[in-house]
């Protein structure tokens, strides 16, 4: 169609403000996700994570890359948060309230509900327990969340006239999403953290064949092959069983949602099969919160959970009961799920204090713990814990409190990320034109890059932290075009265009103007081009008769055009001049001389083709 031009363009994906590095603390890779994408003139920030391994400003993303060019609000069209893990959202209140950003922040409903809880916990640990000052406040978290616009799955959201986003299910944790960002015909999909195999309470990530120009995927776990769910669960059950059999107590600190339900279902099944008698408890704060969130987010869990909870009301397990603080001192074996997950305050810490001194007991940590928490310390093998005088936030702790850790400490990671196979599966699903892997070490991913490039025949980029990747794309560029110009865009020798037929005008930010307008705006002078063409006809009429016949013929064919028969015999159609001449040697051969200017090229060529066919025999004289 006329008026559309394909222009090679490029998209920029910048990791300038992102980073990842490996810390040996608690054996887990720690990093921070914060990616800047420039697409179709729009700038989008993907995730805004905190680096949990640093205690100084290095934990925040470095926004100076952007702020050098102006304010964040002006520069960014939107911010998108993939899920509630702190290495993806931990720096959000810092960015929006301390650096300053007032634009829209998008995340799914569960993420919006859970984020502030984790951020507040994190703030408490950092400020109250570690005494830091350059950190965001509770009010800042609240103010930040006011800027959040929640997303539903598979629903296209118009951020502005040109930018639209859509969330897809990512698995991994409750509310985690992969996001498609689209500007015109260019699109990017960012995966955040995702998982391609379903677990007990979450489904697997899913996306349609949306064929994005770039698929951006986390690759921290790209080179792993995951141990089976069956073996992980076996290990968990074995540890719990061993402890209970020897009369010990098992403490499992959990965050309210997701993983806790999964472990409960597992234990309930096991207790039933093995005819176990020891009690299992769930702290009441947990059940209330969990029930509340369950009702809100049932669509985010998987089919099995939904079925289970339709049959029985959520925490009505046969073997799992509500916990009361008075049970802490009960003799004999038991298993208790309690919050918070990192042992930094509250019930789980209180229980830990009571049970830590007995080597028959066990604590199972099902996730990563932030530096500064007791959870982090015991996962690093610390056997003696001391509470410094400054830390008076938790009233039940006396200054000079110290504790010997004799119970068995078990670190079990249940959180699932996509491994090499998962990445290949996702590429197969989405069919991107280019692949971009972030947060891996390039020299450890050459093989994966080769694999992707060979299997899918697409380019695979692996920018290092601080680098910008530029990916060439081939978008269609819609432009505004004036009616007159469209009229003149006709193929040579083609059918007569109807001057009255309306043309479609596209909305676009580029202007396609007439040459006169362009010349005027650019201050260039116009040059005239005229074409001439000779058409030979076999015609016995006189020259003047031929003129008349031409005039009559054209008038009947070219309806709507200005046709003149000048006194000297010349026929003029618009600015095209037609003159007839003949030589005395060949009186029956007429030579028509056509001349037109460049602007009437199309009509001129039409006329020459038409007249080459000859004039109709019978014509009524005017």
């Amino acid at each position: 169609p006329t008026g559309l031009y394909a222009v090679p363009r490029s998209m920029h994906v910048s990791l300038s403000i992102s980073s990842s590095c490996s810390f040996s603390g608690a054996g887990q890779d720690v990093g921070r996700s914060c990616i800047l994408v420039s697409i179709g003139g729009k700038n989008i920030m993907l995730d805004c994570g905190m680096h949990m391994g640093y205690n100084d400003d290095r934990r925040f993303p470095d926004f100076s890359y952007i702020t050098q060019q102006g304010r964040l609000t002006e520069f960014l069209d939107c911010v998108i948060i993939s899920h509630f893990h702190l290495d993806h959202c931990g720096a959000l209140p810092y960015m929006s309230e301390m650096v300053g950003y007032d634009g829209p922040i998008y995340m799914t409903h569960p993420t919006k509900a859970i984020c502030p809880i984790l951020l507040e916990d994190f703030r408490k640990i950092t400020v109250d327990k570690k005494g830091e000052t350059n950190f965001f406040t509770s009010q800042m978290i609240k103010d930040c969340m006011k800027k959040v616009i929640p997303l539903n799955l598979h629903q296209t959201v118009q951020v502005d006239d040109e930018l639209e986003i859509k969330a897809y299910y990512a698995g991994h944790v409750l509310g985690a999403a992969m996001v498609q960002i689209k500007v015109g015909s260019e699109s990017v999909v960012y995966t955040g953290d995702y998982n391609m195999t379903p677990d007990r309470h979450l489904g697997a990530a899913w996306i349609d064949k949306c064929r994005p120009d770039i698929l951006i995927s986390e690759s921290t776990y790209a080179t792993t092959i995951r141990d089976s769910k069956r073996c992980r669960e076996r290990d968990f059950l074995k540890k719990v069983h061993e402890t209970v059999e020897r009369g010990g107590k098992v403490l499992i600190p959990v965050f309210a949602l997701g993983r806790a339900q999964e472990l409960c279902i597992l234990l309930e099944t096991f207790w039933e099969r093995m005819n176990m008698k020891a009690p299992i408890y769930f702290s009441t704060g947990l059940t209330e919160k969990a029930n509340h969130y369950y009702k809100l987010f049932i669509t985010w869990t998987n089919q099995k959970i939904r079925k289970t909870f339709v049959q029985r009301n959520m925490f009505e397990f046969k073997h799992i009961k509500a916990f009361d603080r008075s049970y802490i001192d009960n003799p004999g074996p038991m298993v208790v799920f309690a919050t918070p997950g990192m042992l930094h305050a509250g019930l789980s810490l209180q229980i830990f204090r009571k049970w830590a001194g007995n080597e028959k007991n066990m604590i199972i940590m099902p996730g990563y713990c932030v530096q500064g928490t007791i959870g982090h310390k015991i996962l690093n093998g610390q056997k003696k814990l001391e509470l410094e005088n400054r830390q008076t936030v938790i009233p039940e702790y006396e200054p000079g409190w110290s504790l010997e850790v004799k119970l068995q400490v078990e670190y079990m990671s249940f959180s699932a990320h996509a491994d090499a196979k998962g990445i290949m599966q996702l590429i197969r699903m989405a069919e991107p034109r280019n692949m971009l892997l972030v947060h891996g070490e390039a020299k450890k991913m050459e093989f994966l890059k080769d694999k992707i490039e060979q299997e899918f025949s697409i380019n695979c980029f692996m920018p290092a932290n601080g680098e910008t990747s530029t990916v060439a794309t081939n978008p269609s560029v819609p432009v505004d075009i004036s009616l007159n110009l469209l009229k003149r865009e006709m193929a040579l020798g083609g059918p007569l265009p109807d001057p009255k037929k309306p043309r479609t005008i596209w909305r676009a930010s580029l202007r396609l103007v007439s040459p006169e307008q362009a010349l005027k705006e650019l201050g260039l002078s116009e040059h005239q081009l005229r074409f001439t063409c000779r058409v030979q006809l076999q015609d016995a009429h006189s020259d003047s008769d031929t003129h008349i016949r031409i005039y009559t013929h054209l008038k009947s064919v070219l309806k709507g055009y200005t046709i003149q028969h000048l006194p000297d015999g010349t026929v003029m159609v618009e600015s095209i001049v037609i003159k007839v001449s003949s030589s005395p040697e060949e009186p029956n051969t007429k030579v028509l001389l056509l001349s037109w200017s460049y602007q009437d090229e199309d009509l001129g060529s039409f006329l020459s083709t038409l007249l080459k066919k000859g004039l109709p025999a019978a014509l009524s004289s005017m």
Binding site: A26, D227, R230, D235, G381, A420, F447
Partner: protein, 370 residues
């Protein structure tokens, strides 16, 4: 849904992985690293995997959450891989596709790059062109590889130059099933009809033959327990396994008279003999593992075996490859290979035709311990 749990604790550790494509080779390239490779007819991958760190954490196991395999190096091959051998003291492995007489030499790679690259081919003059080549490598001396598809084409070739260092001078056309060094220069070759040959790379004319004495028409393979770092063979146990599930144990010093034998308690699920394998536990006494009949790995204690043929029960069966929480039916999946860890006494790795690879530490619950 099958849980790996019984009242009696059978495994002290177990990890189960699913490769994208099945492997029929598992070869140690380090204390914590193995190489695996695919056997599709066309393109395949070779992978060097790092075993889960949790397995090696021992006393600190509780604090280590790391349960996954890491792909530390990977490469692509144009053909199938039936045989893969690590050259000791190097980062090289040598492979053969099971149907040609060409050996491929690969550099597994170091810290600076994770791509396994082919460094060359060794074209062999073998009598049979479609039998596939068996490979072994001596622990001492320059990097070299012992190879052969039949008894009469066994040769030791220097790796870098491709120069033949030793050729067995014989015209015996028997097809080989196993080739193993038992010292720096003495090696054993087992033919598919069960005969074991002893050769010495220092003397090309030396060859000693010991028949298995088993039933006709069986396919035999061999497992050797020896310290091949020694210049001369010390005590060396040789086990031969037949396709009719008979195992014969001999001592190197007197191969002609078996020490003991047994009829193994196996119900064959497959008619193919290509995955039959028998191995000795390197760090346990009298412990034999067999696989390739079905989806199980069976472990036997040969201490109670007798010179006359009798039936014996295994002391441990790994059934993991027959159960799966993946979506395909693995009841017909056959174990393609298994290996013991060189120093951890009870650690075994096994792979099956469905792409599964398991790492397991089994617990010996019998009174007569290995």
């Amino acid at each position: 849904h099958c849980v790996l749990w019984t009242k009696e604790e059978r495994y002290s550790n177990i990890h189960e992985y699913q490769l994208e494509h099945p492997t029929r080779v598992i070869e140690w390239t380090g204390e914590k690293n193995v190489c695996v490779a695919g056997y599709n007819l066309s393109k395949n991958e070779i992978l060097e995997l790092l075993l889960p760190l949790k397995l090696f954490a021992d006393d600190n196991q509780g604090l280590c959450a790391e349960r996954d395999f890491k792909v530390v190096h990977g490469g692509f091959t144009d053909g199938s891989i039936h045989c893969l051998k690590h050259i000791p003291g190097t980062r090289c492995v040598v492979t053969n596709d099971g149907s040609s007489s060409k050996l491929q030499v690969w550099d597994v790679g170091g810290d600076d790059c994770d791509v396994i690259k082919k460094t060359g081919d060794i074209h062999l003059k073998t009598a049979s062109l479609d039998k596939g080549v068996k490979i072994d490598s001596p622990l001492t001396g320059n990097a070299s590889v012992l190879h052969g598809s039949q008894v009469n084409d066994i040769q030791l070739t220097e790796l870098t130059s491709g120069t033949p260092l030793y050729t067995l001078g014989t015209d015996i056309p028997d097809v080989l099933s196993s080739l193993r060094f038992v010292s720096g220069s003495v090696f054993l070759a087992c033919s598919v009809n069960g005969d074991v040959y002893v050769g010495d790379t220092r003397s090309p004319s030396y060859l000693q033959k010991s028949p298995a004495g088993g039933r006709e028409g069986n396919h035999w393979c061999m497992g050797v327990r020896a310290d091949s770092s020694l210049p001369e063979p010390s005590s060396c146990s040789v086990a031969r396994l037949s396709s009719s599930c008979q195992a014969v144990v001999s001592d190197l010093r007197n191969l002609k008279s078996p020490v003991c034998q047994a009829q193994l308690n196996v119900q064959r699920k497959t008619t193919s003999d290509e995955f039959l394998i028998v191995t000795w536990a390197p760090a346990l006494d009298n412990c034999l593992a067999v696989s390739g009949f079905d989806g199980m790995v069976q472990i036997y204690n040969t201490a109670s075996w007798r010179p006359e043929l009798m039936e014996f029960q295994p002391i441990f069966i790994h059934r993991g490859h027959m159960m799966s929480d993946a979506h395909f039916d693995t009841s017909s999946s056959v174990v393609t290979t298994h290996v013991w860890h060189p120093s951890r006494p009870w650690t075994v790795l096994s792979a099956a035709g469905d792409g599964s690879v398991h790492v397991w530490d089994w617990v010996d619950n019998t009174t007569a311990s290995c």
